[in-house]
Symmetry: C2
Subunit: 337 residues, 2 copies
Amino acid sequence: MKHITIKDVAKRLNCSVSTISRAFNDKYDIRKETRELILNTAREMGYSPNPMAKRLLKQCSNQIGVVVPEFINPFFPEVIIGIQEVFLKKGYQVLIMQSNESYNNELENVKAMENNMVDGLILSLSLETKNVEYYQNLIAQGFPLVLFNRVSNQLETHKVVIDDYKWAFFATEHLIYQGYKKIFHFSGPAGLTFTQNRKNGFIDAHRKHKLAIDQHTIIETGLMISDGEREMEKLIQNNNIPDAIFAVNDPTAIGAMKILKKNGLKIPGDVALVGFTESQLAQLVDPPLTSVAQPTKEIGRTAARLLLDQIESKGIFVPQTVVLNGRLNVRESSMKL
Amino acid sequence: MKHITIKDVAKRLNCSVSTISRAFNDKYDIRKETRELILNTAREMGYSPNPMAKRLLKQCSNQIGVVVPEFINPFFPEVIIGIQEVFLKKGYQVLIMQSNESYNNELENVKAMENNMVDGLILSLSLETKNVEYYQNLIAQGFPLVLFNRVSNQLETHKVVIDDYKWAFFATEHLIYQGYKKIFHFSGPAGLTFTQNRKNGFIDAHRKHKLAIDQHTIIETGLMISDGEREMEKLIQNNNIPDAIFAVNDPTAIGAMKILKKNGLKIPGDVALVGFTESQLAQLVDPPLTSVAQPTKEIGRTAARLLLDQIESKGIFVPQTVVLNGRLNVRESSMKL
DNA sequence: TTGTACGCGTTATCAC
DNA sequence: GTGATAACGCGTACAA
């Protein structure tokens, strides 16, 4: 009692499988009446062509894959919405997997996507990913791959990012203009392109304004709320409390906020806070968090369009890096005293 | 310059394809040396068996599918983490799709999953889904399907839920015990099992305590922050402000909170708030939101285990509904004055 | 306009 | 221990 195949329909109608196939694919000449008859009885029998077999033959699937590191924070889910928007309209299905910030999972996910014969892949690298050899091979084979947000210099392919350096610079400068002197940076894990760029922006803003930075100013953290909490607790324990903190992302800023409030410190009265990658959280916490907004959905749409182009053109393609614009949303958490 | 197939390897080694296949599948007798030789040259040539062909033959994929309505709110992402936890350990890949609360997308997603020959499916119904005929057929065919959270009475299959009625009852009673009289309910969209159950809990708590409910007490809303905002704005415009609101979920409660604060109303001083489905948001907003916590990851794990059982047993299965325990986390937003 | 036969990349069942 | 071959379900040249 398994699937109904093309043969079953052919047998029922006393004709050959190719006629059935033609009725469905419509390219070749076929008498209208036969076509209708076939389509009707097929529907009646509950037959539909097995896509697996089709894929084996055609070597493509009308599916694209998305692999992201996590979706606890709202950033990646929003990007995915943007991706789906573009592809669903074009009749593609979007398969999603998450690597849970693990290099091994990421690789497994990518391979699983290949096994499903996705026509292309949109990828954001995990924290652990240092070795990108596998992806280099993929690209060398002409497999359509678009990176966003967590990208790598070693991969020559389409990328969608925002100018992390610039916006980190602006965010830091904003704190400086507000009159804060002792500004710390929660930098996220070192060694990633985007954390590196944000850190450089932070440093150069200090340089421009001739403010000193010592080795304790920049604190390596994770990317989750709990990481912000942990580091803030340490700072309070050591009684090493800054005027202001520029955090690599909203969750770490919010983690710091939680601990500051718990310890009776005022924001921004005692410590000012600025986050990055505007999530819906920024507006909801109290006080509302100043943050650099990334156009999440637009990042998704752009990545999708780049991938679509590459899939459809099949020609020579020139790796392109699209830098989307951000925006500094100033809110209460970083106001002047 | 496409994929390397079993034939290429056979040709290179001057042996038959079946020998290659055996080397990889190991079941039949094969000389160790030949095996090693084959495996080595295969690796060297970059060959690996094409899973698509395997699936065509075996009719299963070692993949399972997850289809959820959305993942902007943190609920579904957390459930998915739980699902992955179980399946990755067992060597399954987890494919995710989101229906964006649309019935058509949902159906398309489910069909796409079938086309990928997933071995089973975990599904949470969209808001729009009324017609579950297609899923009934799926179940009748013996296709392993597990529902969670957004379930339907018309589907006889494994389900994972929490006791929405009970916890809505407790949450409402909590407000009553705090001394609130004029309690409104933001009910979410009518006609869904879970919204219906929560509404009934709300109503019966009033009955038990002999408190009247009129037709304005229960307000049909959406499920997003913006929906809570809109309804709260209307109430304020009409100057029809309750003592307390029990909301169908956290986002609508938080939407109400935003508008209340914007209008200078105190929480819980002027209006108390209780949410449902504890998300990380509940602890972050100000004041912290009282909410019924659902064990999101455990929901995922449980659904995964049920599905796994059904896939592996292949025998007769008795549809089982697992009711997990919730918890009312009382926070500042619903405190007594 | 329709039917025949081959190939897509595997695995499994036979022979040898 | 190894090789030939028939499936799996489909699309499509080619022949009719």
